[in-house]
């Protein structure tokens, strides 16, 4: 037999051997599937809630931290048991599924997936586990199983108010927007912000920078890129910069603070974040996305024995998005903001969800 044939034989038999090996071991979750059913009924403190974070995880001072606050509140007020897991950069789809499955196998029958990257994994795992309740933040799929609830936000409405605030505070009539990743979600922020700013000052100059384009999602977790982009906009003359960029926004806020200009934070009230305390004087306001309220109210409804499903929209009217007033920097324009907010709530102002081309 020629050597190369032998080699081929070895490789083939080796891999088949592994394949058959895979078929004979016991399945890892065989014994745990029965243990969870008691928890689902939810006795006192019996509800177990698992949370799967997007890239950045707890400590990003922004989106994930907001979800974490909701979870912490549920733990303190509702006495639920919680556990957390976090996504990493460049992971496989299978990693997300494994993460969710592991939470299910651990007896966590209520699972909150933070971020639209989980949509496919949630669909799959939810279908296999109809008795587990899933919530997914920022995403919905028309084909998702009925045990999945989408928690959506009207980012464009909050961003509109941020735009109104920015245009009122800009002395140079020149503002900036930094988006983490040029995804549909962040385009909603951009669209609302621009519409809001133009409603105050139709001739305002608006710089727009996206840190990365999909499929590169590092723009949500690269403070260095945020800092650079903010510096670029400052150099062009912008004096109020709104960054919707996850933890990359921390870099943008730093650059803006160093230049003694104004920054607008996102997702969490960033002026009250301990990690950003030294820049809080430069933070005009934050477009707060009340992910924490959404998470808390979802867990509460499950705790009360309801089976939420479909889409829960958290807009300005439902207090899902708002502007933070920490630091009192927008107190003087509160009446203008209120007028704009009322117009949105009444439906007099409609806000585009995609920026004009």
């Amino acid at each position: 037999m020629r050597r190369s044939m032998k080699l081929a034989a070895v490789v083939l038999s080796g891999s088949l051997g592994m394949a058959s090996l895979a078929a004979c071991g016991a399945k890892s979750n065989d014994n745990s599937s029965s243990s969870g059913s008691a928890a689902a009924s939810g006795g006192a403190g019996g509800l177990k809630v698992g949370m799967a974070y997007d890239i950045g995880g707890r400590g990003d001072q922004s989106f994930n931290d907001s979800a974490a606050r909701g979870l912490d509140k549920a733990k303190a007020d509702l006495g639920v048991q919680v556990t957390e897991a976090e996504a990493k950069q460049g992971e496989a789809e299978a990693d997300k599924e494994t993460r969710l499955k592991n939470l299910v196998d651990g007896g966590y029958k209520t699972i909150v997936a933070v971020g639209f990257v989980y949509q496919q994994a949630v669909n799959k795992v939810a279908k296999d586990n109809p008795d587990v309740k899933f919530a997914i933040i920022d995403s919905n799929d028309k084909d998702q199983p009925s045990n999945v609830t989408s928690l959506l936000f009207a980012e464009q409405e909050g961003s509109y108010l941020a735009g109104v605030a920015a245009a009122n505070k800009s002395k140079a009539h020149h503002i900036g927007f930094i988006g983490g990743v040029q995804s549909e979600l962040i385009k909603k922020f951009e669209a609302g912000y621009k519409a809001g700013a133009k409603s105050v000052d139709p001739n305002i100059v608006i710089e727009t920078t996206y840190l990365t384009t999909p499929p590169d999602f590092t723009g949500f977790a690269s403070p260095d890129k945020g800092k650079e982009a903010a510096q670029g906009q400052l150099d062009k003359g912008a004096d109020v910069i709104y960054s919707a960029a996850g933890s990359s926004g921390n870099g943008a806020i730093e650059a803006v603070a160093n230049a003694k200009k104004l920054a607008i934070g996102v997702d969490s009230d960033q002026a009250s974040q301990p990690a950003l305390a030294k820049y809080k004087d430069a933070i005009l306001t934050s477009m707060v996305k009340n992910v924490d309220n959404a998470v808390y109210s979802y867990i509460q409804s499950v705790k009360q024995g309801q089976s939420p499903t479909g889409i829960k929209l958290f807009d300005l009217k439902a207090d899902g998005v708002s502007l933070a007033t920490t630091g009192g920097k927008i107190d003087d324009i509160q009446d203008k903001l209120k007028a704009a907010a009322d117009a949105i709530k009444s439906g007099a102002t409609t806000i585009p969800t995609a920026p004009a081309q």
Partner: protein
């Protein structure tokens, strides 16, 4: 940095080839590297106040579940293709850093064709495979042609092409072009699912679906090895890889070889995204897995660019990644998953060092043996001289 090509060695006979010493020497380096890396990671874990043995225990018990074994093998399939793509270029001394970009563009086009065309499976699957390989190969050929006609280093051009690939995906993967105008999902853009006939077969095991693409990966490995060792092209390729000038002198058309190798490397790279596309998610979305190309380079380095070596290396990396994903779970002791990245990094660094150490050790042993033989001959010669005197 050492050359990615193993040092030239005279072709030994079969008996020598499978001699114990050779095998021990070949295994010594990777084993040494893994042990060193485990030691380094243990120290790291211990200094961060975690018990390293618990972590290793979690990772080892992970393998015992049959569903986990399937997970690992599925992952190995993807990793193997990534490593084979990189290794093919390396054998020719071409650093194709652009595997990353090639597979993204290829998977995007394959997904698009898969949504537009709906032929019977026996035509559809080959069509998609060929589309992906063609797109990957064409994309890689840009770097090959630039090197041949303009002298642009393929390292520089492929890195640039990686960024351009991201941009291409960004431009094409928008509603109305490659993605459907009205999407079913909010906030994330993806192509429509590929047609039912594009779904690749899988083995049903106790632990779930084992991807049939494993067969393709094995085929790639076998063809890779046969081409290198049994064809004129393979000989030319290895010759060019070791010395371009010598190859030119012996009549090899080096320019042609560079372009062809780059295209083949890119064509293999084109396959990387397909297991995920045709076996799991069935669409190309913005969340398609990243960084497989760079992972492939590490695996190729660990596996010494040999089709068998990279199979073991891919299996090891797949195990580390899959087992590493359960480490941070509270039930498992909340180990940081970064430890897996540290481990992969240290393995790659250690293996480069270890190969060099083992090579030197082998050389010293060889010199000693040859020296001893020569001394014996010399001694014999003087003896005969003395006798004759």
């Amino acid at each position: 940095m050492t050359s990615p090509n193993p040092p030239a060695a005279a072709k030994p006979s079969l008996a020598q080839r499978i001699s114990g010493e050779r095998i021990v020497l070949a295994l010594a380096a990777p084993v040494l590297a893994i042990l060193l890396s485990v030691a380094i990671c243990s120290v790291l874990l211990a200094t961060s106040g975690k018990n390293p043995f618990d972590a290793w225990n979690v990772m080892i018990t992970f393998v015992s579940g049959s569903d986990h074994q399937v997970l690992i093998l599925n992952r190995t399939t993807t990793y193997y293709l990534a490593a084979a793509a990189a290794a093919f270029g390396f054998r020719m001394n071409l650093f194709n850093i652009g595997v990353e970009g090639q597979y993204k563009v290829a998977a995007l086009f394959a997904a698009f064709v898969g949504t537009q065309v709906d032929l019977p499976s026996f035509l559809q699957i080959p069509l998609l495979l060929i589309t992906a390989m063609l797109v990957g190969g064409l994309y890689a050929s840009i770097a090959g042609l630039l090197k041949v006609y303009r002298g642009v280093s393929e390292v520089i051009s492929t890195i640039m092409l990686n960024s351009i690939a991201t941009a291409i995906v960004g431009v094409l993967l928008v509603p109305g072009i490659f993605a459907p105008k009205v999407s079913g999902t909010s906030n994330s853009i993806q192509t429509s699912p590929v047609s039912e006939s594009s779904h690749f077969f899988s083995f049903t095991t106790n632990g779930g679906q084992l991807w049939g693409f494993l067969v393709i990966a094995i085929a790639v490995g076998v063809i890779f090895q046969l081409t290198l060792t049994r064809t004129r092209f393979g000989f030319d390729l290895r010759a060019t890889g070791r010395s371009e000038t010598a190859a030119t002198a012996s009549g090899v058309n080096v320019k042609k070889m560079i372009v062809i190798s780059m295209v083949v490397s890119g064509a293999i790279a084109g396959l990387i995204g397909l297991p995920e596309l045709l076996q799991n998610s069935f669409y190309y979305g913005q969340t398609f897995q990243q960084n497989l190309g760079f992972l492939g380079i590490s695996i190729a380095l660990l596996g010494r660019n040999s089709p068998i070596g990279i199979a073991f290396a891919a299996l090891l990396f797949a195990f580390l990644d899959a087992a590493g994903s359960v480490l941070p779970l509270p039930a498992n002791g909340e180990f940081p998953f970064e430890i897996v990245d540290v481990m992969k990094g240290t393995i790659v660094i250690c293996v480069v060092v270890a190969y060099e150490l083992v090579r030197r050790y082998g050389l010293v042993r060889q010199q000693k043996r040859v020296g001893a033989q020569l001394a014996a001959q010399a001694a014999a010669a003087t003896e005969t001289k003395e006798v004759s005197a």
